[in-house]
Symmetry: C2
Subunit: 196 residues, 2 copies
Amino acid sequence: MSTIGKFRVIKPEIRVLGVDDGIFKPHTKGFVPVVGVVFRGGYWLDGVMHVKVRIDGFEATRKIASMIMSSPHYKQLRVIMLNGVTIAGFNVVDIKKLSLDTGLPVITVTRDKPNFDEIHNALKKLPRSEERWKAILNAGELYEVSLHGGKSKIYMQISGISTEDARKILQLTSTRSYIPEALRVAHLIASGLSTI
Amino acid sequence: MSTIGKFRVIKPEIRVLGVDDGIFKPHTKGFVPVVGVVFRGGYWLDGVMHVKVRIDGFEATRKIASMIMSSPHYKQLRVIMLNGVTIAGFNVVDIKKLSLDTGLPVITVTRDKPNFDEIHNALKKLPRSEERWKAILNAGELYEVSLHGGKSKIYMQISGISTEDARKILQLTSTRSYIPEALRVAHLIASGLSTI
């Protein structure tokens, strides 16, 4: 079972990592760039890391954990944020395992409410579909989070952090859009890298 | 001769591109990632582009021009900024040519005053050294620019822009350090990509 850390205080300059993948043709083979962006709170970009992950593969959790733990920023990081639990297609990130391996809380964020029935059906076409489904279920309950004084809402799943702390961190770091700045910028970088 | 455009007004959200190269072993062969980061003024990252440039090669000017002109951000851009005129070793960017080809002003920025005698000597070990030297001279006069109310200073060379406008743009966009935010972030991304 994963431990739920409790933040004594959430500093405005808390170091957060936003992780997102690049663009690729679905149902092809190969690797996708995955970019991690270190932000101090919602404003200052402090560093960038990256790794390549196999489309519809199984190693996203391990690769992302290893990218983070081998980074010079690792010791400063307080929380990992993901843009949903699937990366490079249906390479599912098991956020419970990611949190345990790195010793850091994990928050996944999606703008739209995920349709789990649709995901479950899509998975069935892939090898080891039940393993993937189990990793998705491991992300636990889906919470709605209200941002910008109720003007926008997003959905989160969490591991190793209380809902209250996770909500506060999302509200603090979503400075320029409806998602945390680290995730917005990780998306821009990963997309910019995919166009070679 | 290049035309010097005149800004009627420099908006706080002026779209600037910061270009920097990644890390590599000097005197090796191969390619280095070069990253372009689009910022609105000194705060908001709007996009990322990239290209690969040959170590100590001759095609940096052409490759960077083509990266910029094929980008969806091209029409919004108002100025290009470089971290010095050499990239990927001594692959010299001819800023006059870059400005003419893209139709955009170019500002190069260095924190330390470049030692041109040293550069000239280092060039002599490379093929077509006089061509490289000519491209460096094409960057024209070196200007000192005072930032943050005189607390720091940097050096610039310019093409297609007046010294007055270039100074204003550097002062406006150097929000978090002694160099424009677009260049600081381009450096972090390019370095983060080089560590594979």
